[in-house]
């Protein structure tokens, strides 16, 4: 087997962090509103700079990144409607704090994919690590493989769909939004969740504190079927619904934005 270094070209600064070179590499082949570039010899920073340059300055709306090589923090902070395809896998914090793009990862992703995602769609063909969709606020995140522990921790909105199984403490401290896990889930499902809904197709090893079975309604059927239809996932499996039991936390005060709506 050939043993080649995928990352050996990266240099590090005195703190051991990736090189601080802020020059846009401008290596893309641009064709109208589409572009494509090979990320094999680029550092994380260079790849993100190239993406921003294409999307914000060149008017490109459809980018393909070849050979992302599981580098970390790729595709973060993209705040515009566009299509990005990663032709390979991403390391941790891929597509974090995005607001708008439609991303397709033709591989797997590491920890904390789509952390703080605001809107848009991310479809991952492979597996995802732990903390997938942490603190996510909106948009849809579809993982066709399985996810690690604490997926959707502190989730505040949006939808996470996982075709495989999930690790422990899924939906830990979830505040809003929905999760559809087609496979099994580990211990402590929805532990300390405040709100939101978790649908599970497989076995649940144990429920977390204040996570209880919910009553299935027509709205649930409509929601799940619609999401599966949108992403071409076939017919959804038989699902159980879990919600917050509302025993653990009681709030007297509304958030300022909620108060404004009420008053």
């Amino acid at each position: 087997m050939a043993a080649l270094a995928g990352e050996h070209s990266i240099s590090y600064d005195a703190r051991g962090l990736a090189e601080p070179d802020a020059a846009v590499p401008k290596v893309s082949e641009i064709s109208g509103t589409s572009a494509e570039f090979d990320a094999h010899d680029l550092s994380t920073r260079q790849i993100n700079l190239e993406l921003r340059w294409l999307i914000y300055e060149q008017g490109v709306t459809d980018v393909t990144v070849r050979n992302p090589g599981a580098k970390h923090s790729l595709g973060v902070g993209i705040l515009s409607r566009c299509k990005i395809t990663f032709d390979g896998s991403l390391g941790y914090f891929g597509c974090g704090i995005i607001d708008g793009p439609e991303v397709h990862v033709k591989g797997r992703v590491g920890w904390s994919a789509c952390e703080n995602m605001m809107s848009g769609v991310v479809v991952i063909d492979g597996n995802a690590g732990s903390l997938t969709g942490a603190a996510m606020r909106g948009g849809d995140l579809v993982v066709k493989g399985r996810v690690g522990a604490r997926s959707g921790i502190d989730q505040k909105g949006g939808t996470i769909i996982v075709l495989g199984s999930a690790g422990s403490m899924n939906g830990f401290m979830m505040q809003r939004g929905r999760q559809i896990i087609c496979g099994d889930v580990g211990h402590g499902l929805g532990d300390s969740m405040y709100d939101g809904t978790i649908y599970v197709g497989g076995k649940v090893r144990s429920l977390g504190i204040d996570c209880v079975p919910g009553e299935w309604t027509d709205a649930d059927t409509e929601f799940v079927e619609r999401k599966f239809r949108i992403y071409g996932l076939g017919g959804p499996p038989q699902l159980q619904k879990f919600v917050c039991g509302k025993k653990l936390y009681n709030y007297d005060n509304l958030e300022p934005s909620e108060r404004k709506l009420v008053l």
Partner: protein, 309 residues
Amino acid sequence: MCGIAGIIYKDGEHPIGTEMTRMLQSMKHRGPDSTGYALYGQPSNLVIMRYKLADANTPRDFEYEDRLRRHRAEVERRLHALGAKVHELEEETEYAFRVTLAYDGDLKKLADFVEDVPDAEVLSLGHSLEIVKDLGDAEQVASEYELATFTGTHAIGHVRMATESDVDISGAHPYWAYPFSDVAVVHNGQLTNYFQWKRRLERSGHRFQSECDSEIIAVYLAEKMSEGATLEDAMRDSLEELDGVFTYICVTKDALGVAKDEMAAKPLVLYEADDLVALASEEIAIRAVIDREIDTYDPYEGEVMVWQR
């Protein structure tokens, strides 16, 4: 934070020194304090011992060189006194040595006798295990110890961000399971019942080379195996008995295993092919040796996996 990595080939020997260096260098950002390797070459009839008599932090006072010379001579004298025949003695750095011995006596006695020399620490002992660890990043350590030429069957490595003990070679991973030969461990995390286990194992007659919680895991597993448990069984027991957040990799002369605690807070990504298994805290380390699109996954919480050669 720390980073751990492992690679095991199911067939033949490979340049694991170079490959582990690439894996560890790609995770340098996870721990800049020290880098360590446990490398397994072809099993030998000879005993391979790596030991040190100082480290990079030791003050170079006016007596430093004399002290090193005296202690080195004393180690050699003691090896001779035990009937061990030195086959080859290599000076890896001014303070770290690799010695191959013809010796069929009690390895614990040998290690105890060497460690009794002031400043001496046996870093590894066995018929195929060699632990190399020092301050600095993987490229520095690999170049200093000439690891580019090391071929073997499996290896683990560690980049360390010191949280629980000092920045020195004693606090660096991997840990040899003193006094059990050919068993080593790298660990990412913290053990919260460290002192309980240290006292318990000390009462059973074990002694520890460091103040680092990770050393407990190596000795714990080796003791279980010495009582007849398989590596896998010992690792499963560790999930019940060791408390804290941890992901660790354990290696023996013919196996590599990984265990992840119930909290699953310490990352690990795994790739398994027909000819090898590679695993690391970050996928980027696996990519450093496999330059093609691969399917990897994270082991789940409470999972134990072992690959036998």
